[in-house]
Symmetry: C2
Subunit: 198 residues, 2 copies
């Protein structure tokens, strides 16, 4: 790692993707110009195209890598965990880890996919459904096993949890006072236990 926290072995292509992730996440895709990216990389706009295909392909690549990170981390977090509550807590914790590692990637994955072409949007939607399905499976299993309330509306539960998780990049700071696992536990307690006495 160098002083910027980036790998010393980063090639020009990786630098472009890293810079684009930062800018797309902060300003959004349409408000970021190829010239903005080039400037921060330290080259001229035209030179970008020696390394990447185009602006939209760049966005697609960032989103696909980002979703894969969420799915891989979630699957890894589930292995070896047996209880449904433990499994749901693992999913929440894994999600927060990914957000903390790269809040901008999260914003891109969950908000900037609108700017993809229709074909690419369908591709991304499919992957996001895969991720959502992990939550559905765990919650449904908990209901079936009698761990969670029998009268839960599972889709509503999953949408609430994912909504709360997708909102975390707005307030979570990796360098914040509270360690990430403390924040994750607070959030999991809130989402699983609710507000009433337990």
């Amino acid at each position: 790692m160098n002083g910027n926290g980036t790998s010393e072995l980063e090639g020009p292509r990786e630098a472009i993707i890293r810079v684009a992730t930062g800018l797309f996440g902060e300003r959004g895709f349409p408000a970021t110009s190829m010239r903005d990216i080039a400037r921060e990389v330290g080259i001229l706009a035209g030179s970008l195209y020696a390394h990447i295909d185009g602006k939209e392909t760049l966005l697609l690549e960032i989103i696909e890598t980002g979703i894969a990170e969420y799915i891989d981390e979630a699957v890894a977090a589930l292995t070896g965990k047996n209880g449904s509550e433990e499994r749901l807590r693992a999913l929440i914790r894994a999600h927060l880890d990914v957000v903390a590692r790269g809040p901008r990637t999260t914003k891109i994955v969950f908000h900037q996919w609108r700017y993809l072409s229709e074909d690419h949007r369908a591709l991304v939607r499919h992957r996001r459904d895969e991720y959502e399905e992990l939550f559905v499976q765990v919650v449904q299993a908990g209901v079936d096993e009698g761990i969670f309330a029998a009268d839960l509306d599972v889709p509503t539960v999953v949408r609430s949890i994912l909504g709360a998780l997708n909102w975390t990049p707005e307030w979570l700071r990796a360098d914040g006072a509270d360690p990430i696992d403390v924040v994750a536990q607070r959030l999991a307690d809130t989402l699983i236990l609710g507000l009433c006495h337990r």
Copy 2:
């Protein structure tokens, strides 16, 4: 009301705001051009400026009106309600009513404020804090009264609730199979009671 569901008495200025709300909400502010708005209104781009000051002012006006709607509706929903749980349910219900009435306004209020100038952003942030404070007060009161669990982390609770609510424009359809009050109750149950047995 005419065939478009809009008021017959709508002037050109109101038409511009209505069209801009739709486009800013669907495509986002930077991806919407003044020519897009003008086309849908049925005039030429230059003619817009006889009715509005500029693109950013248009965004600011939409956001300010939108936040005011959330705050007004929330305050109205609270009057006459006494129990903390009842009050929190009223806030959730009021929020969902506003989302159902105009999902695009919600997306603009909670996501497009980034594209305002710094002064306008501060203004909007202040109003959003006002809205958030309504939730904080109700939840804190419930904790103080012993209605909600004493060991709740109130900021985490409010962020989770607002996160879940802000996500609803992504899946809620006003014309959906379920009436809005059914959806609101499901969501309130999920957020307040959590997943465990109650």
